[in-house]
């Protein structure tokens, strides 16, 4: 540590340049992870926030809400299955909300209508206004992002292409589905909207898209067996089954993976070149008795100081960027995510310094005599 810090203080410019590169890498990693997180939140936060453990879909629906249709009469049946604590039906459909009879662009907003039983465990906590009520079928609870679109409490809006209109009775937070704001409606009202066309419910009684289950020890295979014509998956599998979700996340993850791999090489090469420069110096120190351990510690602690500094600056810059990012940008930083990627970056930097450590152990103290070919 002693030599490491002394050297940092002595050749500030050299190390400043490395820090700048490392900061840029860290910055990009954090921003990408924030974007990835923001996108997946936008795509599925409603699903992710639900306090459900397992989801029952129609058999052959590839764990996708939009491909699955079940009868709601199977809910009590599902509830009786082993290890199931509670079951609740859910339906979803995409729609467009229109403010009045306007034909202006900004007065049409895409929404996701999520049908649930009022009072069931699927209902999110209302921040403002009233929760859903079976007595008020057209009263809906919507995501706060609709406020930015100009919607207020007790506003009534029309659904494009239907004769239905809904009234906002409450606001909830962080509820988006398929990249648009979620609008929670009582499930009967959802059925009216989703199956307006005769026959679109395939003749099922009380149709729903999926049945959500609560229960920690549920055996998915057992449920699928006992409930004919169904597939049971975990909630996270259901999230993966959402259209485009895997692809979207895969893209971001691939970029992150490449970025991390590149940073490992870039940093490794930098540290290696710096070590190579000092071969002679290390030879001298070995000649006067420095052990491999002493010199390796110097390198590793130097890389550690550089990495921690760079990562911290990177984090600061990321939060700074987040503060000035446009509101519509799907960017969501989570402390846990920042910590995880900080640790990954630190580990990568430390591992890449090991190449240099290996080099050090091979330096011959005879170099100090300066006459060895």
């Amino acid at each position: 540590m002693f030599l490491a810090v002394k050297e940092l203080m002595h050749s500030k410019l050299k190390f400043l340049m490395i820090i700048i590169i490392f900061v840029l890498i860290a910055w990009l990693v954090f921003i990408l992870s924030g974007l990835g997180n923001g996108l997946s939140t936008l795509a599925a936060s409603t699903f992710k926030n639900m306090k459900a453990d397992y989801v029952i879909f129609e058999e052959g629906s590839q764990s996708s809400m939009s491909k699955s249709l079940l009868s709601g009469q199977r809910v009590p049946e599902a509830e009786k299955l082993p290890n199931v604590d509670v079951a609740a039906p859910m339906g979803s459909t995409m729609a467009t909300a229109m403010k009045g009879e306007s034909s202006k662009n900004e007065d049409k907003v895409d929404i996701a209508i999520i049908g649930i039983l009022p009072g069931s465990f699927l209902e999110p906590n209302v921040l403002e206004g009233q929760p859903l009520s079976p007595n008020n079928p057209t009263g809906v609870v919507v995501n706060t992002s609709l406020k930015d679109e100009g919607f207020k409490l007790r506003d009534t809006f029309q659904l494009d292409g239907t004769t239905e209109s809904l009234t906002i009775i409450g606001f909830v937070e962080n509820e988006t589905y398929n990249h648009v704001a979620s609008v929670f409606t009582p499930i009967d009202q959802w059925r009216k909207i989703a199956f307006a066309a005769p026959g679109s419910d395939k003749g099922l009684a009380e149709p729903v898209n999926a049945i959500m289950l609560q229960g920690k020890n549920i055996d998915a295979a057992e449920i699928s067996n006992k409930l004919s014509g169904t597939d049971t998956v975990t909630r996270s599998e259901a999230v993966q089954g959402m259209p485009g979700y895997k692809e979207e996340n895969g893209t971001i993850l691939m970029m992150l993976a490449f970025l991390l791999a590149i940073s490992a090489f870039v940093l490794g090469v930098f540290f290696y070149v710096i070590t190579m420069q000092k071969t002679n110096q290390f030879g001298i120190m070995k000649a006067i008795g420095a052990s491999n351990k002493f010199l390796s510690k110097t390198i590793v602690s130097q890389v550690f100081v550089l990495s921690v500094t760079s990562i911290l600056v990177g984090i600061l810059l990321t939060y700074g960027t987040a503060a000035i990012m446009p509101k519509g940008m799907p960017f969501k930083l989570e402390t846990s995510l920042v910590v995880t990627y900080s640790i990954i970056l630190l580990v990568i930097a430390m591992l890449s310094s090991l190449v240099s450590v290996r080099k050090i152990t091979k330096i011959d103290p005879l170099k100090a005599l300066g006459r060895v070919e």
Partner: protein
């Protein structure tokens, strides 16, 4: 138990088969504490090899090397590193100081290599530097020192761990006559007052007056040339 450095019948052979090259041919020598020996000889005569073996950096093909009575020719790499740290002080050709450490730290880093440093080490280092006329230069970096000052720092660094053996490799190579005399006379003085065994490998015939014994190296054969 004998003190100082003893080399007995040390032979060093480089290469294999018909390419064999004898760098040292049955070299024997003994340097007692308080004795300042010089080894002179043309380049290629085996001086470097001799110094590397005496300095525990290279293992001889044959023969025994004893430092302070202990056989060091059979030790492992790691043990040799400890011997270099604890028992041997090295003074190398100029500018072999660590560029980013100031004069005082150059000495203290030697202590840090073997663990932590305390107040006494610090005082010892300051006293040593004072003695060598560097009292005003404690916080100077090598780039701010003259050639003579650098070599004096190197002498202080070699003495820092209180070693039994001091090895100097062409310490006057880049110094003018005045500074060379200054540096070597200081070395001789420290060797006497601290009772160290010391060997200086040099080209510089002017410096031999400071030495107690002068050996000549020729084609790997070491002969005693003069004793004062």
């Amino acid at each position: 138990m004998t003190k100082g450095l003893q080399m007995k019948e040390v032979t060093m052979i480089y290469g294999e088969g018909s390419n064999q090259m004898k760098a040292l041919d049955h070299v024997s020598l003994s340097v007692e504490p308080g004795e300042f020996a010089a080894v002179v000889g043309p380049s290629g005569s085996g001086k470097s090899t001799f110094l590397s073996i005496a300095g525990a950096m290279l293992k001889a093909s044959e023969g025994e090397v004893r430092l302070n009575g202990n056989l060091i020719s059979t030790l492992t790499e790691k043990q040799l590193s400890t011997i270099r740290l604890k028992e041997i002080g090295f003074i190398m050709q100029s500018s072999n100081l660590v560029p980013y450490l100031h004069v005082l730290d150059q000495l203290l880093v030697v202590k840090r290599m073997s663990g932590t440093i305390n107040k006494e080490d610090q005082q010892f280092a300051m006293k040593l530097l004072e003695e060598l006329g560097l009292g005003q230069k404690l916080r100077k970096f090598p780039e701010e020192l003259s050639g003579g000052e650098k070599q004096r720092t190197a002498i202080a660094r070699a003495l820092m761990n209180d070693p039994n053996l001091i090895l100097a490799d062409e310490p006057t190579a880049s110094l003018d006559t005045k500074r060379a005399h200054e540096v070597v006379s200081l070395m001789a003085q420290e060797v006497k007052s601290r009772q160290k065994a010391a060997i200086m490998v040099t080209h510089d015939e002017r410096m031999l007056a400071y030495c107690d014994k002068v050996y000549r190296m020729n084609d790997g054969i070491l002969t005693l040339a003069a004793t004062s």
